[in-house]
């Protein structure tokens, strides 16, 4: 958990939809450029592939935060995939609250053509939110 971490580095898992990013972000190399945070980037065919148990497993096994990068509501190739992902994030937030944890450890961003810089900024913002409680 973030407040028990001995190092200053915040571990952020970014699960991103391959449809939601720019050409330059297709490889996960961008994650190495993130300063001050440790980013584990995982590309998915669709954000709806992210199930609640995966998110919790990441948090339990050492991630401080998890961010889903998804397509906007109308831009989803699978129509309601990104909406599903959003509902799951809301559900996980409720679960975190139920154990007295910071619900901001998980989040979702919805925008098309995200560049590597934007992805890093999203990961940093999530790390900050996760550490804010």
């Amino acid at each position: 958990m973030s407040n028990q971490q001995s190092t200053d580095v915040t571990k952020v898992v970014v699960l991103y939809c391959q449809q939601a990013i720019s050409e330059g972000a297709k490889s996960t190399d961008w994650a190495q450029d993130a300063e001050g945070i440790n980013v584990q980037a995982i590309m998915l065919p669709c954000s709806s592939k992210v199930e609640v148990p995966y998110i919790l497993r990441f948090l339990e096994s050492g991630a401080d935060a998890v961010e889903i990068v998804a397509c906007p509501e109308k831009g989803c190739s699978f129509l309601i995939g990104s909406r599903r992902a959003e509902k799951r994030i809301e559900y996980v937030r409720g679960l975190l609250e139920s154990i007295g944890d910071n619900p901001q450890r998980v989040g979702i961003s919805r925008k098309l053509s995200q560049t590597p810089d934007e992805l890093i900024a999203i990961a940093k913002a999530r790390a900050e939110a996760a550490n804010s409680n």
């Binding site: 497993r57 679960l95 154990i99 007295g100």
Partner: protein, 222 residues
């Protein structure tokens, strides 16, 4: 299906706190359908409980399994090996599954992880509603296939109470239909309202739990 829902996490943590290794067991039938105790819920609850227990300074190892059916001993027996060194079991099955586990794992404590609360139908995605109360004396043949025992807050047999809201909903909840309003509507559509005009006598509840624990023997199947 049998409907169940998670107990409050605090209550579960309280039960598991003092244990070292816990087997969390799901069931792939009813409780999976109602998204309370299937494999997905087991794999969600396990890390959540681990995190919650860690927060309280407890180190409890949680291993998981999901049985095809927790209400039959043949399936439950599959777990004996996997659970040989656990000091507690938490079951996400209905009360039937919990008791099957408790019989087999005795004297290891088996805790329920869910509250079993109704016999429901899934009306739409993410919406379940009660349909049967296992009353032991089915009246659906007289109420046009709509159950006044399970679906009326007062289990009335002779028509709606005075609590029906103006919009046809139940006095207990704005989201619940007054089932008698629906029974009358359906009867009216079929031109059979008269069949509801007869006074229905007091019900015999003795074929349900009220008659004592159920025990049925069918010699032809033994």
């Amino acid at each position: 299906m049998i409907f169940a829902e998670w107990k409050p996490i605090d209550e579960l943590v309280e039960k598991l706190k003092a244990h070292k290794k816990v087997l969390l067991v799901g069931c792939a039938t009813c409780v999976a359908e109602c998204a309370a105790g299937g494999e997905k819920e087991v794999e969600t609850l396990a890390p959540l409980l681990s995190m919650a227990l860690k927060k309280q300074g407890c180190s409890v190892e949680i291993i998981t399994a999901t049985l095809e059916k927790q209400c039959e001993f043949e399936f439950v027996e599959e777990l004996i090996e996997k659970g040989h060194d656990v000091d507690a079991v938490m079951s996400l099955a209905c009360g039937i599954g919990v008791q099957a586990m408790a019989d087999l794992f005795d004297p290891i404590p088996v805790y329920p992880g869910v509250n079993t609360s109704a016999l429901t139908i899934r009306e739409e995605a993410g919406l379940w509603a009660g349909r049967c109360a296992a009353c032991g004396d089915c009246v659906l043949g007289e109420t046009f296939g709509l159950c006044p025992i399970a679906r009326c807050a007062k289990s009335l047999l002779n028509g709606p109470c005075g609590g029906t809201r103006g919009n046809g909903k139940c006095e207990v909840s704005e989201d619940t239909d007054c089932i008698w309003n629906l029974i009358v509507e359906r009867g009216d559509e079929r031109g059979q309202l008269d069949s509801l005009a007869e006074v229905k006598k007091s019900k015999n509840w003795s074929n349900s739990r009220h008659g004592g624990p159920k025990r049925v023997i069918r010699e032809d199947l033994r």
